[in-house]
Structure formats: structure tokens, C-alpha cells
């Protein structure tokens, strides 16, 4: 955005365009008065939010209680809690095969495992990196940028790059062969593919959390460390008694944020594992919703909506916890 200059051509063109845009808006101001202008300025935003966020929320709840394959509510029979019953009916929740909607429970368990490993791994890697970058280390800017770079890439690109890296003819296998280990098709092995979904997720997102934790670390007053040094505190004590307690609130917020985002794992895993493979080893909740609603010709919007509502409730709970922590941090 530059200041429109009436001397240069671009500025004049902009002035001309704005002059046309301005006329009706100024007319509104003359007609309705200055006091009503904020409503006009908010209108585009609120209309879009209304149509594409609030209306869908209302619909989601409504759809969760309808069945059939019709697109619009009028074509859909009311089924009460049937969708929820179908999702939740299970002999043994630990064995997805015993559930009526076994795919859903497979996805839930896959997601839970993923969230657990991903949260711990990302948090540890990000924390260690942030602590190191917080030291008076040379080229801090370079390293910070380096770790942050993957955050900007698209999940599809990341999925493809890693898929190639892990390919039967990829670099990892070449490296293993140099060490005398036979090649492995990692993404067709249940254990390895799950492992690498976590690795790729950490690789993708750790830079973001490092940045947030680093900002928190740099907000800790330097004189606390000087005082600790004068008090002859060992590095271990300094870490556990000063750094981590003072970073605590940031860590909690990062933890919750990480959980919220991990639950929604989809894009990079979908590309990397060819849609959740091998089999359903990497099929997660969002993928389940996507497949129910859009994946096949059978468009089970009711079931998908019910699953969305359940996931939404979990995310809402996590968000509320985060907000509470955030407020506590401020006070």
C-alpha cells in the first residue's frame, strides 16, 4: 500500500478508481450519518462470516440428525440420534473391528496415537531448539529461518518430497544400503509409515512452535540469569528452577495449540500415505469425515456431520482450556 500520489500515473488511476468507489459510500454517509458508518464497514465481513461460518455451524448440527443422501435439508429424513448411535455403537472400543462404524474407531485410535506421539516429539524438538537458539549463538537468525522454512511449504509439496525421500529408490534407502541394511518400502509398512507420518509432521511444524517458545524465552529478563549465576546455580538448576517455570505458561499454550492442530491432521498425511495407507493404518478423523461426505458416490453427509460435531466439541473444549490459560497468563 503506498500513498496515492496525484503526480504519478498509478496514483492517478487509483484516485480515479477510488473516486468511483467512494461516491456511493459517501452518499450512504450523507444519508445515514457518520454514526452508522461502522456498520457499513463491518457489513461485508459479517455477511461472509454469517454465510460461510455461522450458517454452516447451524447446518452441521441440523445435518447430524438427518439421514439419506439428499443434499438439502428438505430432502433429508429426520433420524434423531441414529447417526450418533451408529458412530458410537461398539462392543469393545479398544477393538475397532467390533464397532458398527469400525472405520470411525480406527480413525479415532489412529488419531489418538498420532496426537500422543506428535505432541511429545514436536514439543521436545521445538523446546530443545528454542533453548539452543536462545543462547548467544552465532548465526541465530540463519538457523531460526532454516527451521522455520518448512512451515511455509504446502502440505502437498511436503507429502511429495518425503514420499520421494522414502521411496524404494529414494535417498534414505541408498543411505541404508551404504550401511549394509537391505532396502525397505517404508510407506507400505504399517509401523514405519506411522513413524514417518509423525516424523514428517514434526519436520513440518516444529519451526512454528520453536519460534513461539523462543519469543517466550527472550521475554525472560536477563538479570534473572545473572542473579542465578551470582547465586552459583548449576545449569541444571537454572533450567529447572528459572527457565522452565517462567516458560511454563507459554509451554502450556503451545501444548494445547499443538493438540488442537494435531487432532486435525489430514493434508500431508493424506498425500504421503496415498490416502491413509497401508490399509487404514494412517486413516485419521478428518479423513474419515472427508471420505464419508465426499470420498465416494455415497454421500453420507449425516454421518460426516455427526462426526464433525463430535470432533468440534473436543476442539472446543481444548480451545476453552487454552483461553483460560491465556487469561491466567495475562493476569
Amino acid at each position: 500500500m503506498s500513498t496515492p500520489k496525484s503526480t504519478d500515473l498509478g496514483g492517478r488511476a487509483l484516485d480515479f478508481v477510488m473516486g468511483i468507489v467512494e461516491a456511493p459510500i459517501n452518499g450512504f454517509e450523507r444519508l445515514m450519518g457518520r454514526k452508522r458508518m461502522p456498520y457499513l464497514f463491518l457489513a461485508p465481513n459479517l455477511v461472509l462470516f454469517g454465510i460461510f461460518t455461522f450458517l454452516p455451524i447451524a447446518i452441521a448440527v441440523g445435518y447430524a440428525f438427518t439421514g439419506g443422501t439428499g443434499l438439502f435439508v428438505s430432502d433429508r429424513p429426520f433420524v434423531g440420534f441414529d447417526n450418533f448411535r451408529q458412530l458410537l455403537q461398539c462392543e469393545d472400543y479398544l477393538r475397532p473391528g467390533s464397532c458398527r462404524e469400525s472405520l470411525f474407531w480406527t480413525a479415532i485410535w489412529n488419531t489418538l496415537w498420532f496426537v500422543g506421539f506428535n505432541v511429545v516429539a514436536t514439543l521436545l524438538v521445538a523446546l530443545v531448539t528454542a533453548l539452543i537458539l536462545n543462547r548467544a549463538i552465532a548465526a541465530r537468525g540463519f538457523f531460526r529461518a532454516m527451521f522455520f522454512y518448512p512451515v511455509l511449504l504446502s502440505p502437498v509439496v511436503i507429502g511429495l518430497i518425503w514420499k520421494w525421500f522414502l521411496d524404494r529408490n529414494g535417498l534414505l534407502n541408498a543411505f541404508l544400503q551404504m550401511l549394509g541394511v537391505p532396502p525397505e518400502i517404508f510407506l507400505l509398512d504399517v509401523g514405519w509409515s506411522r513413524f514417518f507420518v509423525v516424523v514428517v509432521s514434526v519436520w513440518f511444524h516444529m519451526g512454528f512452535y520453536t519460534l513461539i517458545l523462543l519469543a517466550g524465552l527472550q521475554a525472560i529478563p536477563k538479570d534473572l540469569y545473572e542473579a542465578a549465576a551470582i547465586d552459583a546455580a548449576s545449569p541444571r538448576r537454572t533450567l529447572f528452577r528459572i527457565t522452565l517455570p517462567l516458560l511454563g505458561p507459554n509451554l502450556l499454550v503451545v501444548l494445547i495449540l499443538l493438540m488442537i492442530r494435531s487432532v486435525q491432521i489430514f493434508d500431508e498425511a493424506w498425500v504421503l500415505t496415498n490416502g491413509g495407507g497401508p490399509g487404514t493404518a494412517n486413516s485419521f478423523i478428518v479423513q474419515y469425515i472427508y471420505q464419508m461426505a465426499f470420498g465416494s458416490d455415497l454421500r453420507l453427509f449425516g454421518l460426516a456431520s455427526a462426526a464433525s460435531v463430535l470432533m468440534g466439541l473436543v476442539l472446543l473444549a481444548l480451545t476453552l482450556i487454552q483461553l483460560r490459560l491465556g487469561r491466567k497468563m495475562e493476569s
Binding site: 464497514f41 462470516f49 443434499l71 527451521f147 529408490n169 512454528f208 519460534l211
Partner: protein, 352 residues
């Protein structure tokens, strides 16, 4: 350096000039390994994207893109491949005519006489560094890549422009006016931060169908223009602009809209830049929503197109990787030039 041996020390110690302890070594090892971990998969994919189709699946792979050299030899219709052969303890280049089991029939390419039979084990192909530009030109000319690129550029540009305008207007209203319902509207907008797309994607799709935007680029532009992140970011920045400036402009006979675009917008430029960068990245990398909304190939964005390609050319990695790199290039450029803006912007807002 007695404490240099503590496993924790390397996380907390600050560097002292002139002394390098274990802590420093561990720190540097972590950082360098991390950097390698980031770079190696990307660079590997980049190098592979330059390899010709025949080379890309060779195992074990070569690091640099090479191709086997072929030469036309008098007396043979087709060009023959060149090999380095060990004959009588001497190394020389020969052209291979055919291969039978463990033996190959070779001939001197410059002086083709009687073919010699050579043990396959004693020969290796002559290779030259080459760049398979066709990996990049083919998708642009033969496949729909250019269409996808055009769609992505259109979506990114238009959506970013609209995102800036719509959210700046809302932020202006919420930062510079006092009016009935101000607080409620702000809370309402910010609360949508809590509703991720993944939760409302099914009904949001139905709304898009309802308003007739399904399978249209506008169907992925319009629904995500209003951004709570954007409103919040811009509002916080606008709050720092003194109200007296706006009053001065009112005394100067400026209409409210003119105050917005002549005073507020130019002064919000730094925050607008941050939001613009975010918006470009969001739009360029967006996958799930376009995947849901777009169904015909001519409307695919790059990300959706790439995903479709990898299903179709499951073995033609040379093309897939080249296209991956074409879609990664703009983001990398943006990052190289605006790295500081982006990292401070994210550290400052805690958003992505």
C-alpha cells in the same frame, strides 16, 4: 569447565568467548543436524527433479543428474551407448553393440572394427552431467500444469486483495468507532477463530453448493475472505494510530471512507504487509478446501493438481518432482526476501 560435561548444560549456558566446551559442540551438532534434516529431503527432491526419466529410478541413485552418453557409430543405425571398459589392464571408452548374459560385445566408436567380447563386471557406463529440462517444460506445455498455475495465481491474488480490503474495513470499524454492539461483534468475529475448517467443511460445502459456487474458483475465494486472524491483527495495529489523526481528517472535511483509504490504510501498511504475506501463503498452500469444492480439472489449483498428478503418474517421479518444485519456488522466494517480516509477524501474533 567442570559443568561442561553435564548433559543439561548445553541448553542453558551462554557462550563465553575463547572457550569452547562440550555444550557448544552439542549445540552446534544439534543445529547442523537439524539444518541438514530440513535441507536434505528438499535438495534431494530438487536434484532428482533434474534427472531424466530413465535415470530417476536408478538404485543406488547418483547425487547429481547424469545421463548415459550415446554416440552414433558408423555402420550401426541406432546410436550406441558408451562404456568405460578395462581391457588388458587398460581403461578405454567403447560402444556397446549388444549384451549377452555376462558378456557384452563392444566396438571402438572411432574405429569400428571387429567387436570385442568384454566381461560385464569390468565395465561402467560413461555419464555426463545433464539437466532434464523436459521435466519442467513438458508439464508446462503438455499437461494442464499451466492451467493449475494460472488458477492458483488468480485465487492467491484476488483472495489476498479481497482479504486485505474486507478485513481492514472491519478492523477500522472495530478500532476507531464507538457504536452499539461493538463489543458483541468483536467477540463474535474472534470466536470464529475457534471453529476450524475441518469441523464445518461438510456444511460449508453445502452452503457453497447452495449459493452456486461449487466447482468454481470463486467458491474457494469467497468463503475464506473474512478472516478473524486478519481482523484481529489489523485491529490491534490500528488501535495504535492516534484518534486525533482521524479527528484532524474530519475537521479537514474528509468523508469516513476517505479517512479509511487516505489515512488509515497507508498507516496500517506494516500490518497489511504481514497479513498479505500470510494470505498469500494460506491461499497458495491451501489443499483440503479446494479439494472439496473443485471437481473439474480445468478449475484445479496447483495443490489439487499436484495431488491428482501423483495419482496418475505414480511412477513418473521426474514430472511430479519438477511440478512440486515449481509450486515450491514462489514460496521459497517470498521466504528469502521477507523472512524477517514473517518470523517477527508470527512471533508477535502467535498465529499462522
Amino acid at each position: 569447565m567442570s559443568q561442561g560435561l553435564s548433559p543439561i548444560a548445553f541448553l542453558t549456558r551462554t557462550r563465553r568467548p575463547g572457550r569452547i566446551g562440550l555444550t557448544d559442540i552439542l549445540s552446534w551438532a544439534w543445529l547442523i543436524l537439524g539444518t541438514l534434516a530440513v535441507l536434505v529431503p528438499v535438495v534431494w527432491a530438487g536434484l532428482s527433479s533434474l534427472k531424466p526419466a530413465a535415470e530417476i529410478t536408478r538404485f543406488p541413485p547418483t547425487l547429481l543428474p547424469r545421463v548415459a552418453v550415446q554416440q552414433t557409430v558408423p555402420g550401426f543405425d541406432a546410436p550406441l551407448s558408451l562404456w568405460t571398459v578395462n581391457v588388458d589392464g587398460q581403461s578405454r571408452e567403447m560402444a556397446m553393440i549388444r549384451r549377452i548374459g555376462l558378456k557384452a560385445q563392444m566396438v571402438d566408436p572411432n574405429n569400428p572394427g571387429t567387436p570385442v567380447s568384454v566381461d560385464v563386471k569390468s565395465m561402467s557406463p560413461v555419464q555426463r552431467l545433464t539437466v532434464a529440462t523436459e521435466n519442467y517444460t513438458d508439464p508446462l506445455t503438455r499437461f494442464d500444469f499451466l492451467t493449475f498455475l494460472k488458477n492458483s495465481v488468480f485465487v492467491t491474488f484476488v483472495a489476498t486483495l479481497l482479504t486485505l480490503i474486507v478485513n481492514a474495513l472491519a478492523a477500522f470499524a472495530l478500532s476507531k468507532y464507538r457504536f452499539r454492539g461493538e463489543k458483541a461483534i468483536f467477540v463474535l468475529i474472534i470466536s470464529t477463530l475457534m471453529i476450524p475448517l475441518t469441523v464445518v467443511m461438510v456444511p460449508a460445502y453445502l452452503v457453497v453448493v447452495g449459493v452456486g459456487l461449487v466447482d468454481s474458483l470463486w467458491g474457494i475465494i469467497i468463503p475464506t475472505i473474512a478472516s478473524p486472524t486478519g481482523v484481529f491483527l489489523l485491529r490491534q495495529y490500528m488501535l495504535t494510530i492516534p484518534d486525533e489523526l482521524i479527528e484532524a481528517a474530519r475537521v479537514d472535511a474528509a468523508s469516513e471512507f476517505r479517512i479509511f483509504w487516505r489515512i488509515i490504510l497507508p498507516l496500517t501498511a506494516p500490518a497489511l504487509a504481514v497479513l498479505a504475506i500470510f494470505s498469500v501463503l494460506w491461499r497458495w498452500n491451501d489443499f483440503l478446501w479446494p479439494l472439496i469444492v473443485l471437481s473439474s480439472r480445468e478449475n484445479f489449483t496447483l495443490q489439487v493438481g499436484l495431488n491428482a498428478f501423483q495419482g496418475e503418474f505414480s511412477v513418473q517421479w521426474n514430472y511430479i518432482l519438477a511440478m512440486t518444485f515449481l509450486s515450491l519456488a514462489p514460496v521459497t522466494l517470498v521466504f528469502l526476501f521477507l523472512q524477517k517480516y514473517i518470523t517477527t509477524g508470527i512471533a508477535g501474533t502467535g498465529m499462522k
